[in-house]
Point group: C2
Chain length 445, copies 2
């Protein structure tokens, strides 16, 4: 039963930046260990990067270096193309061309797959090649594998994750130091935790891309980023983080995909999470994903969600999977989106108005009799029941003469649509003196 | 590219108790979802249990029921035998017979694999069949898959896990309520968290079985339960849990496998863990496993480690893997112990004396001048450096006249052998008035 020596898998890297460099380094450093696991070697034979000098510096003479990615795709001696360029533009063209050339593809590009996944997976299926993307969500944490393979026994009920390290770092700092968003963002940029243009991170777009991929593999629905609700952390104040803390909650930016009877909720937004949950204690740039299945209950996956070698760990794991399946029929593979392509679900993404959550509300109100009764009356009209209320003593609100106060309300579950009606009615009250702050809340139990 | 309809995988269950019943129930309830993922159905066609009445009650007419497990193994229409009997005796014979009959095997039996795994995997390899065992460690948490497939890029440095729910429940209760072991054990038995004969759990044997499996797949070494250090929680007192808490630590029963230059540490024992680590906050009967890899850094996997459907979740995931690979060549499979059988490591399990950890020590000493100097002198002689000392005020120790006190010492890393010498010397001091308590400590960073 001794195994004959299989030829190495030959890999072409597109992009030798942070993740590309890490992938090259890890494959080289651990080549023996990886070969002993995979049953065959995995060799980077070609690297494409516009910055050939950088590539030369990282790769040396170990692989052929080119500036033209298409030379990698055209090389018949490359089995797998690893796309680490990012973005929707040239990366999309190259991935489709690699597929057309019969190459297997590994990518860390969540934006590309969340937006153009349907087209890419269809092309790959037609050509009989693998498109693997463990590195696209939560860096080195094998969450794609857990969902696609580890939890196949389950009807998945929901997935909720801290899947953007930049925003989790900022929120951790805001809470720790009591600082507002703008101040902490600047610090995060200085420390390299946030990019010069942090829009995709802080506006929730990156997390929503990843949540879109998680929703697809959890429920067997197509990727539908265009129907995702995307909300970032730029509006959060230190005040709300502090009040949440007093109520036993932490605020985290969560990407959430939840199955309802009539569809799937797909949403990314700041969320109050009970402090006693492990995920509420995931700090700094770390990632964690909770998955609730009907058989397994709640499971959690935690680790570094970004960075050179953590992300490379996921890229290389995909390469090992491909190495094992290189000579096997497509039926032996795990389907791109966990379910067989002919067996996808038509469950729609629900419009935001139909999403069910509970809420944290902060109202700046005139400190006089009857205000609370008016507000709770409006909530009752919409069938929204109240879990907890904190009415601050007026004199606790500094420097405003004592005739205003903060009213904090936690609600039970309600529809977003109902809450919007209630918010409009409350906002119209003359005793409500500022825009009402609303943050969604999830018990995650 | 439309897939032809593949025939279902036919499963024979040996044992229809807690996990067997759960497996049957989950396969039935989620059969459509599972088929849509696996690309073919998974059907329980035969069930063997000595209690055929119970089997009848669970299974009804859905499968053939027999009292003789060998009838399942002999049935040519069974593709996969699921062994859920447990123990080393009849289970071992049946697994080997199933392999000899050319059946793939799925088992939740950690005891069997930790002790007889080498023989079983060799037989399976010779026969070309799969032996899958996700359910053997940490119930529904896909930790075997994470280690064998998700982290293949890494040289694994260590694995440390709360992998026995009974003992974690007992330790959580001891801490919460300040009660001693014996009292909480009785409560756990009453609540069904501990068995009538809890020996395997409370003496650490069950956790050590699982740690043995984790060490094998993390480092590519054979299973060697006979070389594992096994220590349970029966000697722990509420006093030490309280002191640990004051020092910023929780005490958890950890199964640990750590790679050193000259070998592998394989040990299960109560361990002080810094309170700020997520794993220190895993409470009740939950399980969690930390894995440290050289590329990915630290990752954690959390969920229910036991119970009917959580364990069934893992059994069924193995069945889906087998369903996908049923028609593929053995080269497409993940090796039993993560590394190709011809590529296993010869790294030895280190004797306990060579294990490196830090320690918590509690000494009952006479409350007089010079005692601390003597004790720290002995530690220094063995090259053991001290991280922290708490010397209690004598009057804080109740009802003993004030002439005794507790001395708590946290050390830095040292060898077990060195510590044993120091302990013997300290114990011999006339001012040390009771057996010294020693608990190992891990920073897990």
């Amino acid at each position: 039963m001794s195994q004959e020596q299989l030829r190495p898998v030959r890999v072409g890297l597109l992009g030798i930046g942070t993740v590309g460099g890490g992938t090259f380094t890890v494959l080289k450093r651990n080549q023996e260990e990886i070969r002993r696991r995979a049953g065959r070697g995995i060799e980077v034979t070609m690297v494409a990067d516009l910055n050939t000098a950088l590539a030369q510096q990282v790769v040396g003479d170990a692989a052929q270096i080119v500036s033209d990615a298409r030379a990698v795709i055209a090389n018949p001696d490359v089995d797998v193309v690893v796309e680490l360029i990012g973005g929707y533009g040239i990366a999309k063209a190259l991935v489709l061309e690699a597929i057309a050339a019969g190459k297997h593809v590994v990518t860390a590009n969540k934006a590309l797959l969340a937006v153009h996944g349907t087209e890419i997976f269809a092309a790959a299926r037609a050509k009989g090649v693998i498109v693997a993307f463990e590195a696209a969500v939560a860096g080195g944490i094998p969450i794609i594998k857990a969902l696609r393979e580890g939890l196949t026994a389950n009807q998945i009920q929901w997935v909720a994750g801290i899947i953007n390290g930049t925003t989790n770092f900022i929120l951790s700092e805001m809470r720790d130091k009591g600082l507002d968003f703008d101040v902490v963002l600047k610090e995060a940029q200085r420390l390299g935790y946030a990019e010069a243009d942090p829009t995709f991170d802080i506006e929730g777009v990156d997390a929503a891309h990843k949540a879109t991929l998680l929703s697809a593999i959890a429920f067997g629905i197509p990727v539908q980023f265009d129907k995702a609700h995307v909300e970032g952390i730029t509006q959060l104040s230190a005040t709300d983080i502090k009040y949440a803390e007093q109520l036993g909650y932490r605020i985290k930016l969560l990407g959430i995909a939840r199955r309802r009877d009539n569809g799937v909720e797909l949403r990314t937004h700041p969320t109050l999470v009970p402090m006693r949950r492990l995920i509420a204690n995931v700090e700094g740039a770390m990632n964690a994903v909770l998955v609730q299945g009907d058989a397994v209950g709640t499971t959690m996956y935690y680790g570094k969600g970004a960075g050179s070698e953590p992300t490379a760990s996921a890229v290389v794991a995909d390469l090992v999977d491909i190495a094992r399946l290189l000579d096997a029929a497509p039926a032996a593979r795990v389907p791109y989106l966990a379910f067989q392509p002919d067996e996808m679900s038509t469950l729609p993404i629900l419009p935001l108005d139909e999403v069910i959550t509970s809420f944290y509300l902060r109202l700046r109100v005139a400190d006089k009799a009857g205000v609370l009764a008016k507000i709770t009356g409006i909530l009752a009209e919409q069938g929204i029941s109240i879990d907890a209320v904190i009415q601050r003593e007026a004199d606790e609100v500094s420097g405003e003469g004592g005739n205003q106060t903060d009213l904090i309300i936690l609600t039970h579950d309600t529809s977003e649509g109902g809450m919007n009606k209630a918010l409009a009615a409350m906002q119209a009250l003359p005793t409500v003196l500022a825009p009402i702050v609303r943050v969604r809340k999830e018990e995650l139990a």
